[in-house]
């Protein structure tokens, strides 16, 4: 009896010892195996973009665009005479993972960080960059929190803020279309969805329009019937329904509205700019939808677009499917131009350069305010129309006196 006990104990201790040895192995390998020397001859851009999960439909195209930009820059000699090495580690649409991945990239010697396309998901990457004194740029986060006030004086977003995006939608609806009443549906999911509605409502009311009601929805609920019921039973039919939500539920919401025969125009922000949504709506339901996004994938929309379309096709073998690809390109180009102007990849110098410069991008002109003013990105929104499941470009829209963040 006692023999058996001894064996079990010994075996357990041995297993434990093996575990410890394995652990030490991993720890020491990590400590001594980290590449430090290689980082000197090349410029290392780290990306924490999510390739899986809810954020993937936005982040994955920006990654493709960024890769095209890196190849194009490397062909012309790189940045500051150094070849660019771009490594993206999957942030998995989990803020904690995004932060960890960014820390890992910085430890491997990243000089700047490309953060995911959203404040809630991308913020942790920028916080890691800020802690390490590096510039971090989100490809397309449009929450007004994405700036120096909430994240630090070296953090930027390549997107316009929702103050611009929401106001542009409101101005187009009220001035161009003459819609006077709006019904708003807000997904409380992330800061992007909440603030987009907030600034749409504020600007629409400033212009003289009436918001009948702001209804709430939470991503993942999968049941839109209560909200749908309220829309159906309105005494006064709205001229436009503004829906600020996110894929995949956005598709379900619009479909369920159209399926019961409500043909009221629908408006929204850049989360609509997703081929997945157009496919989900199809020809039958993809009608009378307008949204404000970053740019449009057609020659002549912005200077350099033809060049981008050509290079993109060279690298990926197909035409870009959404304007988010351009945001990846723009983010890398902002980094390249700022580093050239600053003459270094030092975070402070690059941030100073970015505050002074004006960027000419695929998504229009971009000007940042100072860190004290929050790194407000002065930009225009691109208006896109969806009819019969096909998109077309309406034009650029810069709202007059957009609301303050």
């Amino acid at each position: 009896m006692s023999n058996i006990r001894v064996t079990v104990r010994r075996r357990a201790t041995a297993a434990f010892a093996q575990g410890i040895a394995f652990g030490m192995g991993i720890l020491t390998a990590g400590a001594f195996g980290a590449p430090t020397a290689a980082a000197q001859e090349e410029l290392f851009i780290g990306g924490a973009l999510s390739l899986t999960g809810i954020q993937a439909p936005l982040d994955e195209p920006t990654l493709r665009g960024a890769q095209v930009a890196v190849e194009a820059l490397n062909e012309e000699g790189g940045i500051l005479g150094k070849q660019i090495r771009f490594v993206n580690l999957d942030g998995k649409s989990d803020p904690a993972t995004v932060g960890n991945v960014a820390v890992q990239l910085i430890e491997q010697g990243a000089d700047m960080i490309v953060a995911p396309c959203d404040f809630d998901f991308g913020g942790p990457a920028s916080r890691a960059a800020q802690n390490a004194g590096l510039v971090g740029i989100s490809t397309c986060a449009s929450s007004p929190l994405y700036g120096s006030a909430a994240l630090g004086d070296k953090q930027f977003t390549a997107s316009m803020w929702n103050t611009t995006m929401g106001a542009a939608a409101a101005e187009y609806a009220f001035k161009e279309k003459g819609w006077k009443t709006a019904y708003v549906v807000t997904d409380t999911f992330i800061d992007y969805t909440v603030t987009l509605s907030r600034y749409f409502i504020e600007h629409f009311e400033n212009l003289g329009g009436t918001v009948i009601r702001e209804d709430k929805y939470t991503q993942g609920a999968q049941d839109f019937s209560a909200q749908l019921n309220r829309i159906q039973n309105l005494d006064e039919k709205p001229d436009v329904i503004f829906i600020s939500s996110y894929m995949p539920d956005l598709g379900t919401i619009i479909r369920s509205i159209r399926e019961i025969g409500i043909e009221t125009p629908i408006m929204g922000g850049d989360s609509y700019d997703d081929t997945g949504l157009f496919a989900a709506l199809g020809e039958a339901h993809g009608n009378d939808i307008w949204f404000v996004t970053h740019t449009y994938m057609k020659e002549g929309v912005a200077p350099g677009m033809a060049d981008f379309l050509e290079k993109y096709e060279e690298v990926h073998g197909e035409a870009p499917d959404t304007s988010f690809t351009a945001m990846g390109w723009d983010t890398v180009m902002i980094m390249a131009k700022a580093a050239e102007k600053a003459g270094s990849t030092d975070g402070d110098k690059m941030a100073d350069a970015m505050e002074e410069m004006t960027f000419d991008l695929l998504s229009g002109k971009l000007d940042y305010s100072s860190a004290e003013e929050g790194h407000y990105p002065y930009k225009e929104g691109a208006l896109v129309e969806l009819q019969n499941g096909e998109t077309s470009f309406i034009g650029w829209m810069k709202p007059t006196n957009p609301p303050a963040p």
Binding site: S2, R5, V8, R9, A12, T13, A15, F16, G19, I20, F22, G23, M24, I26, L27, T28, G30, A31, F32, A34, L51, T52, V87, L89, D90, D94, P95, A96, G99, N100, V103, Q104, I106, E107, F119, D120, G123, P124, R127, L145, A149, A150, T188, F189, I190, D191, V194, T218, Q219
Partner: protein, 354 residues
């Protein structure tokens, strides 16, 4: 005196486990880079959660999902109470005026967070403790869902489903390691304490234990509240480590990870909780490194996703098939000769809970 300190061998177990744990922490501190430090810090935070789960689940034999909800309560309570007012104004626009100016020091905020979770747990859980078997498991799951729903919809305090940011970093390697060590000592003591022994007796034979005068509802309740306090402390440490988070973190994925750690290690012993945490952390990081290697080198010509979670789930199935009582099979690690019989109660032969 022995009544308070419990039976002696647990100190041996604690010391046997502490030596390698201190070594891991010290080695990471001395040689590890930022990434290793973060991994080990997280491992110790998870260890607190697993130890807490062991206190209840291991000793009572009832699986619980609810503790991760209390991790959330601890995280939000301590974060909101310790956040500087100017940051609060930015991240929580609709916070109640009473809470707005409160700016507690870190340890006080952790204590209050744990206290809040403890009180909530004490009130909610008492009636649930009469339930056993499937009913108890289902209600603990329901409790997790309820807490998550509250966290998601109580926008004034939690910022709804969105990120709560602006939490200051206070938790470093030795903070989480120190608390985990204290948690280990307490869990090992509790197992041998009067209440712990009664709880284990009620796990092994409910009817016999009650006929001997064990107040099953009370002893379960004590362990449940203790588990929730463990979870809340871990949540508070985690909040001040990760500095921005949302309610989605305190849900099924985390439940699965912590449960996997305990089940793989062996839920019945404290050693099982510790070993399970270390093994799963190693496996998790190993798989993650493998996934990263496969993807950077394009081994399969395409990107591989979700390998980590997939392999972890496989490992759990494997353990449950080949070693259903976990790696430790319900035993405690001890150095030296077995505790001599004749003193105190004889060591009971432990089997896996259920």
């Amino acid at each position: 005196m022995r009544e308070i300190l419990g039976r002696a061998p647990y100190l041996n177990t604690v010391l046997t486990l502490l030596v390698p744990l201190v070594l891991i922490a010290a080695a990471t501190d001395a040689f590890g880079g930022t990434v290793q430090q973060r991994i080990v810090t997280t491992m110790f935070i998870n260890m607190i959660l697993v130890l807490g789960l062991q206190v209840y689940m291991g000793n009572s034999g009832i699986v619980s999902f609810a503790h991760i909800g209390f991790m959330g309560i601890g995280a939000y309570a301590s974060a909101v109470l310790s956040m500087p007012p100017d940051l609060k104004a930015m991240t929580l626009r609709d916070l109640y005026d009473v809470l707005q100016p409160i700016d507690l020091p870190f340890w006080l905020a952790v204590t209050v967070g744990a206290g809040v979770a403890g009180v909530v747990a004490a009130i909610i859980s008492y009636p649930l403790m009469r339930l056993s078997d499937a009913a108890a498991i289902i209600t603990s799951f329901a409790l997790l869902v309820v807490i998550n729903d509250v966290l998601v919809h109580w926008s004034e305090v939690t910022n709804g489903p969105r990120t709560l940011f602006g939490v200051e970093r206070f938790t470093y390697l030795w903070t989480s390691a120190g608390v985990a060590f204290a948690g280990l000592l307490f869990a090992a003591w509790f197992r041998e304490s009067r209440v712990g022994l009664q709880l284990r007796a009620s796990r092994d034979d409910r009817v016999a234990a009650q006929s001997c005068g064990v107040n099953m509802v009370f002893v379960r309740w004590v362990a449940f509240v203790l588990m929730c306090i463990y979870a809340a402390i871990a949540g508070a440490l985690w909040a001040h480590f990760i500095t921005s988070f949302q309610p989605g973190h305190f849900y099924l994925e985390e439940v699965f990870l912590i449960l996997a750690m305990l089940v793989i290690g062996g839920p019945v012993s404290v050693s099982g909780a510790v070993i399970g945490t270390i093994l799963v952390t190693l496996a998790f990081e190993g798989f993650r490194a493998l996934e990263g290697y496969l993807n950077t080198n394009q081994v399969f010509g395409t990107q591989v996703f979700g390998l980590t979670e997939f392999l972890l789930a496989l490992a759990m199935i494997g353990i449950l098939i080949f070693r259903p009582a976990g790696v430790m099979r319900g035993r405690e690690l001890r150095i030296g000769r077995r505790h001599r019989g004749g003193r105190g109660m004889p060591a009971t032969k432990e089997r896996a809970a259920d």
